[in-house]
């Protein structure tokens, strides 16, 4: 064979084709968006270019005769305890290209996942559990400032009326929302699917920093629009149409890093929605160039409140970093109605791998720290807390709420619900599942009729499970679980970790 450099020779996947079962329908050739498989008419054979395969498994899923299996290549670079094969491959790759390694999806390093070290306490005899199939169980929750006290007036006729002016609230039928994914990083079909599912579920979806496509205005009443450093797509109509506005300061997958949608991906529709010329790079700088302090942030929060006549809650989203609690306190004092904290396992369309995998902190400790600090300062009622970046299941939602969140945003799991196979090549724009791509040939792989139903099913299933778990804890409303760490116990954590999370070890 001809010489191949190691990073090509040690390709991660092998496309195994059972040639007897293969009927040459050529579906795999069409489905592979990475050109890892092609047809040789002369020999009537489908060949595989294994080195191009990213392991998205689209071909495997779509093969009508089950003739394809994508398996890890057993021939890998020699590895040992300190040099795992992926590190070796990165070194090979960088020696060849001299560039930053860019990747997609969330942090895949084996850091401790605190969710997996927390168990939920259940009622037995002394206090009874509740059967959610027979008793009412409340998952409805409200996001926004809660006043310190409620004042009522009584008219002469004895009619009671509310005197306190309540801050604007978002009403969620279930404490799960679809997190920010911008039009551009994902396509319109997927955004429409989330919007439709959010409307059906009585929850909210988030536009991300890409503006609001005109086709999605009918769903904007359940939409949260983002104002990020690039101010893409921000207009009066955009702010007016939405249910809430989110100022994006940071993102869990890339704390301290801005966004970049390369010009070649900015087609006419994305350009129109983002309000930039077609073909131009959409760069959201790492900092907002008008925000260098909490006072500056306060100005933007109130500018947005003015623009929306104080009728809409303003969210501020930050990445989970080590001093997150102090930052959150500042954000609360800057007038935000909701703080969104994004953990370091959050997903991304594209980021330097070095940042994704090594910067930030886990969402569990961040939320516990933020909730405790705001309580200590007596301002917990001033803001709601939304957790995101690493929520994988209904149990994670329950645990994060018990650790102090009001609700959770989900994103990666929403992509899993519509087919994502975690191949981590979102940054290429070639997503074979039609999720993180705007290629018209690939984007059509997400039919919003199907995708919205799958998203709806996922959240509906989780909501049922959460009711069951609440019932087991003897709690009949999700609001009573917020910050209720006594319902959790930890297993296998250090004393310090227990202290930060505010949980007791199992057995105590």
């Amino acid at each position: 064979m001809l010489y191949k450099k190691p990073q090509i020779q040690y390709y991660p996947y092998i496309v195994q084709r059972d040639d007897y079962k293969c009927v040459r329908c050529l579906g795999c050739v069409e489905q592979c968006s990475y050109d890892a498989t092609f047809y040789d008419e002369e020999l009537d054979v489908i060949w595989n270019k294994h080195e191009a395969c990213v392991g998205c498994k689209r071909c495997e899923a779509m093969c009508p005769t089950d003739a394809i299996k994508i398996v890890p290549n057993p021939s890998r670079p020699i590895e040992h305890a300190s040099w795992k094969w992926d590190l070796v491959m990165d070194a090979y790759l960088q020696a060849n290209t001299g560039g930053i390694i860019i990747t997609g999806i969330g942090n895949d390093k084996p850091y401790r996942i605190y969710f997996d070290h927390l168990v939920i306490d259940a009622c037995q005899v002394t206090n009874p559990s509740i059967d959610p199939l027979r008793e009412p169980m409340e998952l409805r929750t409200f996001l926004g400032k809660k006043g310190e006290k409620i004042e009522l007036t009584e008219s002469e006729s004895g009619k009671i009326a509310l005197k306190t002016r309540l801050a604007p609230q978002l009403e969620l039928e279930t404490p799960i929302m679809f997190s920010a994914m911008s039009y551009g990083s994902i396509n319109l079909n997927f955004q429409e699917s989330m919007a439709r599912a959010a409307v059906e579920l009585g929850t909210y979806w988030n536009t991300g920093e890409g503006g609001l496509h005109k086709k999605l205005y009918p769903y904007a009443g359940r939409g949260i629009v983002q104002v990020a450093s690039g101010r893409f797509g921000v207009s009066r109509d955009y702010l007016k149409a939405a249910a809430a506005v989110e100022i994006k300061i940071g993102q869990g997958a890339k704390p301290g890093i801005g966004g970049h949608l390369p010009g070649e991906k900015v087609n006419a529709e994305i350009a129109e929605t983002r309000m930039i010329p077609p073909g131009s790079d959409a760069i959201s700088p790492a900092p907002h160039h008008d925000i260098y302090s909490i006072e500056d942030l306060k100005q933007l929060v109130y500018a947005i409140k003015e623009a929306t006549r104080y009728e809409k809650p303003v969210f501020v989203k930050i990445a989970a970093v080590h001093n997150v609690a102090a930052i959150a306190s500042g954000i609360a004092r800057a007038g935000a109605d909701v703080i969104v904290v994004d953990g370091f396992r959050g997903g991304t369309g594209a980021t330097p791998k070095s940042v994704r995998d090594h910067v930030g902190i886990p969402i569990e400790v961040a939320i516990a720290a933020v909730d405790r600090r705001l309580r200590q300062e007596g301002i917990r009622n001033e803001v709601s807390i939304v957790a995101t970046g690493g929520i994988r299941s209904s149990a994670d939602v329950i645990k994060i709420i018990a650790l102090g969140a009001d609700a959770a945003y989900i994103a990666t799991v929403a992509m899993l619900a519509i087919g994502c196979t975690l191949c981590q090549t979102c940054n290429t724009g070639r997503c074979a599942w039609g999720i993180t791509t705007n290629d018209p040939r690939l984007a059509r792989r997400q039919n919003p009729d199907i995708a919205s139903e799958q998203l709806y099913n996922l959240v509906r299933g989780w909501s049922h499970e959460m009711k069951e778990m609440l019932g087991a804890m003897g709690i009949n409303s999700i609001e009573s679980l917020k910050g209720n760490r006594l319902r959790l116990r930890s297993i296998g954590l250090t004393e310090k970790e227990n202290e930060i999370l505010g949980v007791l070890p199992a057995g105590e």
Binding site: K21, C25, G27, M62, R444
Partner: protein
Amino acid sequence: MKKVIIIEDYCIACYNCEVACVATHSRSQDPVKSYKREGLRGKTNAVVEVESPLAFSSMCRHCKHPWCMDACISGAIQRLDNGIVYLDEERCVGCWGCVVGCPYGAAHPNLAGKDKHAFKCDLCIKRLDAGLNPACVEACPNNALLYDETIEEREEVHK
């Protein structure tokens, strides 16, 4: 009448409709055997046409006034009471009149097999009788094929 409706916006050119069509019209009912043992490769009524990014599965429209039937010299093509335009392969003499006559290219010559006859979509008549959807519709992973009344017909009913 209900027909297979093609939604071009969601066809992803996976060719599953082609394979399902071949298997359903085979003796074995098995995709691998029908292609490899029965020589049915290429004998599919759901032909996927790709002009990237567009793609669609072109197939018989079961016209109210079928051009293929007009062109058939042997009477092998008939319009059944339920509206299905049916080609009886036994009676076909292989003149390819229907192949030329169909403006949609939905009638095909079978050149590979021993018996030189034409073939075209029968809307999976046997499956319909059994209360199932046509095989291509069932096989489409992206709902790009629907078994339904056409929009015009639905509107007619409303009138």
